[in-house]
Symmetry: C2
Subunit: 322 residues, 2 copies
């Protein structure tokens, strides 16, 4: 494992936690400025170099709907894959599956929303129609040698409908399980996850779907993203999505932050004796590269303050009593 | 208890958590723009109206050192106190104690740093000299009918020295205990607290000082402030300092956030089944008032996104697939 040497270990590792980088997909998809494919490729290469092994690179959505993702094939083909690299992409339909098969992507993520209104708004169809479309898409991906993963958007609350129905998420999970899906991502799409409903949701889903592994896709829209990580760890989750620099946003809240921030998550896990295999300094460098690329400050905190034991000269700055 | 009605309770309360508002003291002290006393008074009145009962209002530091605190007496005298209100102020020396006695402040907070270098830089004297000054200051406050509280700055790491010596903090706590101090505040002055050292520090201090109550004064400099709250709750802490809007800053990190944010903390605790007695909507209004007063955006998140169940019209905003 890479080790920057700044984080003294007071105890043995609590285990391994997998971080899935989602910055180039969930982060960049709402950026109006089109980022050149070569830059996206360089970003993912830098993420992999930091120790990240799972990257949700892009989305095989219609280029008309999301122009930022029109270069999905080019980006996936350009990444310097390693033997243990796992590249993923959203696959919203059969056309997306066909496109995925022409690339070195390792897995395709199916997507559905936990609420009918969000599913219709996001995917332009009802939940039942989405579920009925899944077997053909999953079969095409698997026949092409790709892993099939399952996502659920607004799993912790819908900005239109409010609380979502847990039985509905369990039903989606049962369909995923029937299609051989082993990893199901619970999307906190607009930052409505909080300790109580994280615990309640994870307990219900783990009980109903005992062989499914859950990935938490948390946003920091209401400031509690990393607190939700600790709660999720207590509830047995060992895989989290995050975005370099905390990129991404919530279209319902101007100024609100987006995905939980990869390097802040690495810092939290390092400082809680979890092993991630990710080098914090390299992770910070990726976030700074993202800031430079977009030309604005991102919400990440550790990239400003540095690791906690980066010391300061005594005369460098004034302090005020207190 | 006030109840905004948006947060369904899925379980019984885990208990009461006291939030001490520190915005007008630790938040404003580094602001170069002098805020009029009347505005500070109105802010504290609004905090009290939101359900806050403990406010660290100001500091009896030399007006030459911190001009923002020169109006300490005027502010304390102007606040509309209630029977259950607890107003506190920093009292750095005997001169400060004399000033405190002329005001309706309920408690004076003694201050010392866990590291020799930070104590010298912040208070212009060594740790031993600070400890030797405490009995006279404490006696003066208590003789004047004021509670005596104890603070320790850089308790989770010093930006100059790095890790701090736990035995040194225990020694400070023993001096505080000998002076009748019942509440000791552990200051995460530059945001170096993280789950591992929070747990380690609290376990050691609670074992060495079994009759002391600890208040956690956390900063969000590295993004893990609210995660540290959850860890502190697990370790038995039931009192936290925070600042409206996340005001305050770390002079060592441009752009880094300061104190953990009061309204985000209220949201986290509400959503974890802890009772605070604070109305989230009123707490958000205080933060917005602080933003207006300072003329800039503050780091708080819930004040941008709103409580999680504030719903949106379906046609209000576009979404992108995923």
């Amino acid at each position: 494992m890479p080790d920057s040497g700044y984080a003294p270990q007071y105890g043995p590792s609590q285990g391994f936690v997998e971080i899935c980088e989602a910055g180039t997909r969930d982060g960049l998809q709402i950026e109006s400025q089109i980022i050149p494919a070569a830059e996206k490729i360089a970003l993912v290469d830098a993420m992999l170099d930091s120790g990240i092994r799972h990257v949700e690179v892009t989305s095989f959505v219609s280029p008309r709907a999301v122009p930022q993702m029109a270069d999905a094939e080019e980006v996936l083909r350009g990444i310097r894959k390693r033997a243990d690299t796992n590249l993923m992409a959203l696959v919203p339909n059969l056309r997306g599956a066909e496109r995925a098969l022409t690339t070195p992507v390792d897995g395709g993520v199916l997507l559905i929303s936990a609420s009918e209104t969000h599913n219709r708004k996001n995917l332009n169809r009802g939940i039942d129609e989405s579920l009925e479309s899944f077997p053909a898409v999953a079969a095409r991906l698997r026949d092409g040698g790709k892993e099939v993963l399952g996502g659920v958007a607004v799993a912790f609350g819908c900005p239109f409908e409010g609380e979502v129905d847990l039985d509905g998420i369990i039903r989606i999970g049962q369909v995923y399980a029937s299609l051989g899906v082993r990893h199901m991502t619970l999307g906190d799409t607009t930052g409505m996850a909080a300790p109580r409903n994280v615990r309640r949701t994870l307990r219900a889903l783990r009980a109903a779907l005992p062989s499914m592994e859950f990935t938490m896709h948390l946003h920091n829209t209401r400031g509690v993203g990393l607190a939700n990580v600790l709660v999720s760890l207590e509830e047995g989750v060992r895989r989290f999505d995050s975005a370099a620099g905390g990129l991404g946003g919530c279209p319902f809240a101007a100024g609100a932050t987006g995905n939980i921030c990869t390097e802040d998550l690495v810092y939290l896990l390092d400082e809680s004796n979890w092993t991630t295999g990710i080098d914090l300094e390299k992770s910070i460098a990726v976030a700074k590269r993202m800031e430079t690329l977009l030309g604005r400050a991102l919400p990440g905190q550790v990239m400003r303050a540095g690791p906690r034991l980066r010391l300061h000269a005594v005369d460098a700055v004034p302090t005020a009593a207190g």
